[in-house]
């Protein structure tokens, strides 16, 4: 009796020998490895720059604080007169940027694998008591042409290029044998067509998927020791699982098209068309649909509202703003006395103005976040239509550069901004001087990572979104193979 597993192994060995001899498997795997290395190099470069920026900001914040404390000490000891516009004892000055307080979103260990939105959504903000409209729209500097092009990261290699390499190996998996005539020879032996197909698939999928998963995993483990942590390792495993599922999807699609039984040329055309549709066209169309169904409020309107509010508030505090300003000629008034300080009336006015602007804009600004979240929810709901979207979303999420995490960050910033304002508001309005001890007790931004279980569940759902269509295709392939016409 011929044992199917034995036959499978035999076909696996034989096919490997054939592919080895005509060099196509080597070539494709080498191209894939080359692209992956290049993508990783890019990813690590970008991550290093981001991390360097974060370190710089942290150092800057600490250094500024040390300097400010030293200055405050000198002023309190009477060695120096306070500067009317940069007085460390003045809560209006410290709260408005003199303290150089940054809110920073940390870079995750998996970050080099996918740029995601990190080049367009900021991962740090300088927090002041001023209206969020003042700082929430800062962006990283990048050539817009290059933003339009996109980055060459691992996510790109997987989402766009991997399917094509898969096709190049398997678009004529069966059709070539049939056109060449060897399929008749094969099937005149006591073997099952599905066993043959399984063996042929395995020999192609194994090196390609190993290369696509092990290479990045190994490079990552060597270069990012912070990965050695049970949670991060689990995320890496999910990342790998996602790549494998995605690769299998395209392999099975190639099988399905082969089982359909047309010529190699037709197979190549059909596969390319399906790739164009699923990877190029569908995401672009979905993007249009999503932004039409859940439109973001008009930015023009935001600008108009901001201006109207600015006018109202300027009028409201016109008197405070035009108050007498004696501090340049008599800076000694600015010295704290018994914990109290004479906060310049004009600065108080400016604070109130910003406070009111922020309050009145809050709702409108919130709408932008809400709508972006609503868009993301729509994308999540319909991403199953294209595995490219599913994988893109999932890989960027695991790498910590997806829309969700940026929204989460903005929410934390929003909360912190309120805390910051609440800390300074009574001090500015009541004229409470900033003491040295205050620097250690004033609110500091602390990052809270997204819920780990939410991320894991999200990733698992997306894994299913790829595996279910894959299994459906497996079932259909089996049916079609059963009726496969050799002649």
């Amino acid at each position: 009796m011929t044992d199917p597993f034995r036959t499978f192994l035999l076909i696996f060995r034989h096919e490997g020998r054939v592919l080895f001899a005509d060099r196509s498997l080597w070539l494709v795997t080498a191209i894939l490895a080359g692209l992956i290395f290049y993508a990783l190099y890019n990813g690590f470069n970008a991550t290093t720059i981001r991390e360097r920026t974060i370190t710089y900001l942290r150092d800057l914040q600490q250094e500024t604080q040390r300097y400010t404390i030293a200055q405050l000490r000198r002023i309190m000891e009477g060695k120096e007169l306070p500067d009317p516009f940069a007085n460390p004892a003045d809560p209006a000055a410290i709260g408005s940027g003199m303290g150089r307080h940054f809110a920073v979103m940390p870079v995750l260990p998996l970050a080099p694998l996918a740029f995601g939105q990190s080049d367009i959504q900021p991962d740090y903000y300088q927090i002041t008591y001023r209206s969020k409209a003042n700082f929430m729209y800062d962006t990283e500097i990048e050539n817009p042409w290059n933003l339009l092009t996109g980055h060459f990261d691992l996510c790109f290699v997987i989402v766009y290029v991997l399917p094509l390499l898969v096709f190049s190996l398997s678009y004529n998996l069966l059709s070539a044998e049939r056109e060449h005539g060897t399929l008749k020879m094969l099937l005149s032996q006591p073997v099952d067509l599905s066993t043959i197909v399984a063996g042929k698939l395995a020999v192609r999928a194994l090196p390609v998927l190993l290369c696509a998963t092990l290479l990045p995993a190994m490079v990552l483990l060597v270069l990012r020791p912070q990965l050695f942590d049970i949670k991060n390792l689990f995320l890496l495993v999910l990342f790998i699982a996602e790549i494998i599922a995605y690769g299998l999807f395209w392999f099975v699609l190639a099988l399905l098209v082969n089982a359909w039984g047309r010529s190699s040329g037709t197979n190549a055309l059909v596969l390319t068309t399906s790739w164009v549709f699923l990877v190029l066209v569908l995401p672009v169309i979905l993007n249009v649909i999503v932004s039409t169904i859940e439109p973001v409020p008009s930015r023009t309107e935001l600008a108009a509202r901001t201006r109207v509010i600015a006018i109202h508030t300027l009028n409201r505090y016109n008197d405070l703003l035009s108050a007498d300003y004696r501090y340049t000629t008599q800076p000694e008034i600015l010295l704290p006395k018994d914990g109290k300080i004479d906060v310049p009336i004009r600065r108080k006015g400016l604070f109130l103005l910003q406070r009111d602007q922020d309050q009145e804009l809050q709702e409108l600004l919130k709408q932008f976040e809400t709508q972006l979240a609503a868009q993301q929810a729509l994308v999540d709901r319909f991403s199953f239509l294209s595995p490219a979207i599913v994988v893109n979303e999932c890989l960027t999420m695991l790498a910590g550069s997806g829309t969700r995490r940026h929204l989460h960050f903005r929410e934390l910033v929003d909360r912190f901004h309120r805390e910051w304002k609440a800390y300074f508001e009574p001090r500015i309005l009541r004229g409470v001087a900033i003491k040295e001890a205050d620097f250690h007790s004033m609110p500091a931004f602390t990052w809270q990572e997204q819920s780990f279980s939410a991320v894991v569940i999200d990733a698992l759902v997306r894994l299913l979104q790829i595996l279910i269509p894959t299994l459906l295709m497996v079932w259909l392939t089996k049916r079609w193979l059963f009726n496969y016409r050799v002649i």
Binding site: D138, I141, N143, T149, V284, R307, N318, Y325
Partner: protein, 462 residues
Amino acid sequence: MIRRIAWREFIEFIRDGRLPLVGGLFAVLLVVLLAVGWLQESNLNSERSAAQGMDYNDWLNQKNRHPHDAAHQGMHVFKPIPRLFLIDPGIDPFVGSTIWLRSHRQSEVKFRPAQDLTGLQRFGTLSAAWMLQILGPLFVIVLGFGALSGEREQGTLRQTLSLGVAPQQILWGKALALAGSLALLLLPALLLALTGAGSAIEQDRLDLLIRLILLGVGYALYLGIAIFVTLAVSAVAPSSRISLVLLIGLWIASVIVAPRIAADLSKAWHPNPTGVEFNTRLDNDLEHRYRKVWKEKLGTEKRWGPELPLNRWGEALKVDDHAGYEVTDEHFARLWDAFALQQQSQEWIGLAVPVLAIRGFSMGMAGTDFFHHREFAQAAERQRRLIQDTMSKDLIEHADPLGNQHFSYKAGSSLWASVPPFEYSPPKVGFALRHNKTSLFVLLAGLLTWIGIAHLAMPRSA
């Protein structure tokens, strides 16, 4: 003879259903895109011009207040959407649309549309340009991959050559058939675009028409390259299947993969700073310069103290501003030049990867490239400086003598009216052409090269 060959080929495209099916889908999608884009664009534009008008109105009608506070309110400036945005949105989704012109510092153009969108945006922006640049060549490949290899397999190529038809005639006949099919599909879209151009306001009409024609020329060159690449590969490939696989591989390598590598290369050749680096350097230079000019012009480095009382605030602002203009100009020019150089080096790579050249040329002609954006940003900055200078001058004249009462000075509507409204007319087509000489040349050179290669690839004899 060439027309005869082309006609036979064309009939074949129609009969085997490739042209009606794939092409029809392509043409319908293109027309729908144009129509939808048209609607969106006119909505956005009218909203922006209305907002611009209201903004100036509010500026004029603001209450009496200190000029520096008026400068704080500032003005909002909205970038008008170019008429041809609907054909090629270019970089516009990735640059801001609004500038808040305020005192103290050059503002960034804010509100990048891409920031308000999900990660899907990164897959591309659905537009006519996207379709022509990305899917156009694929369409040519689907029509033409078997043009010569297929005839060879059938033996009809030998037949034709044995009749004494020159290989060149066959090549041009096939090229004509492909070009004709494309023209047939693009015609409705072109007509729609021309109608749109005709409906534009009088003074823009000619400019728009020339831009459209140039766009047509650019895409003709680009798709021409695709046609001759397809024919060349089809001529040398041993079979239609290999021809198809080779062409699809080429398409993917040049349209999908190469642009990203080119972006990396251009960044390596002409690096640009990160946001933090840029701002730190700008801040340092500004501070350095401020100290210097304060010392020179005001006799002190210390900002505000007994040596420099508040009654010289206006004068000091003016000193600050003018020192700042130079430094900022220098920094922004360096940054923007780096961007421009990055783009230019990528357009040169367009010799090997034509999509890079047509992309630059197309957005240039559509008025959505970085050069047009830079023009706008500079015009906005000029307006900001105008406001700033007007306010500082008024402060020197009226507020400075008031000493500590400086901030109690309130200017009135006559001062506001002395600032003219922001009027921006986008650069004309001559500007666009000047900045896109390279890409036009690259496209032309690419086409000629590939015509030559296709000629060499043709079989000499039966």
